[in-house]
Symmetry: C2
Subunit: 229 residues, 2 copies
């Protein structure tokens, strides 16, 4: 019986849908490519995996290279493996999404060498994307629409301290519809993972809202028992 070593039969890459919220709009990070194929096109940030790292590690590394960020909640959601999806050869891509706070203290520092630039772009005004990246994005948005109803991923988009109105904005942007303020507040508070702070919003020219923060300890206690919208 001969022993057959597994032969490499594909290139494997990671593509990331990085969601960001800047206080008003839901955005994703796109790069403008500087290489063929799809030179000068916009595309999702991504790269080939290294042979000595897991796909999760690879996703973290690539995110880090693209943004300078580490320790970000990041989740695999689908693997795209159509034969013709990369015009120059067989590339299977494992897609991840991440949720990032924008405009905070630490700015994002893309270290992309293969891109002319990286830019946060409103998800409602996406340009034409290279490869099958529109499809990858669509699937990603669909995923988080579901997941946001059960998991506390929305808070990843917000600054450490936030108002309930901000949380509602995030939900409305992701779900693509308006929600009733009273019902929303009732529900989001009923999950018991928000801690009301003894502190108010500042710098607004109207009544300042109470600030809250996401309480990881309480969430850990409820883990398993899922949040549900």
């Amino acid at each position: 019986m001969k022993e057959v070593l597994p032969q490499f039969n594909s290139a494997v890459s990671i593509d990331c849908v990085l969601f960001g919220f800047d206080g008003g709009e839901l955005k994703i990070l796109l790069i403008e490519r500087n290489e063929e194929p799809f030179k000068d096109w916009w595309a999702l940030p991504g790269n080939l995996i290294d042979e000595d790292e897991s796909v999760d590690q690879s996703a973290s590394r690539i995110l880090h290279e693209l943004t300078g960020l580490s320790d970000v909640y990041m989740e695999q959601y689908y693997t795209f493996g159509e034969v013709g999806r990369h015009p120059q050869g067989r590339v299977i891509s494992v897609a991840y999404y991440a949720m990032l706070r924008l405009g905070g203290d630490k700015a994002l520092k893309p270290l992309t060498t293969y891109a002319k630039k990286a830019q946060w772009i409103n998800v409602r005004e996406l340009p034409k994307l290279g490869f099958d990246h529109q499809h990858i994005f669509d699937k990603g948005l669909e995923k988080i629409k579901r997941r946001i109803k059960h998991l506390p991923i929305a808070f990843e988009l917000l600054p450490e301290k936030f108002t309930l109105t901000q949380v509602q904005n995030v939900y409305e942007l992701i779900l693509g519809k308006k929600l009733d303020k009273r019902n929303f507040r009732k529900k989001i508070l009923s999950f018991g993972v928000l801690k009301e702070l003894d502190e108010k919003q500042k710098g607004v020219s109207f009544r300042a809202a109470t600030l809250y923060k996401f309480d990881k300890r309480k969430y850990a206690k409820l883990f398993g028992k899922e949040i549900s919208f």
Copy 2:
């Protein structure tokens, strides 16, 4: 600017969690390996993809080779990419599940050459599995627990004509808990995707139950509008 073709950087395989229901037990198909590594161990059926097929096509092909079946509802659910998961090299595995009827007219004809045998095994009595296949199975079971609540995948496990008690058995086995008969029937019928037949169960030594079938036409109409438990 040099143009870089994507280099192959991994072997990619498919692993399948094939669920089957024989009237009493929830089972999955396992093979007993006849090759190193994990010779003589049980493992999930799977194989390397071909370079000229999509991962979905690959999954269908592999399922066909293992069971002789085609046109089976099959869905990708996760990609496993730990570095050390295959002892002989870098193999990334895309996992799929499928739901099959067992014991029907057409028996399954595994055409596995790399396995000593293939066998349906009760999910509550799984042997020790090679590779990270226990983990792949666990994740798969978790997935279908969720999906069975929203999608009509459970009917794929049943014969064309079935009783409501059989449907309930399938749900109880997958969810791992007892359900109330009256509430279950109320709910499953309220989805409106079952058609009551003018026919009764046969060959039982007690009151025969009414047979139903899954109505694909009605389901198609409701498509998009999701079923929910």
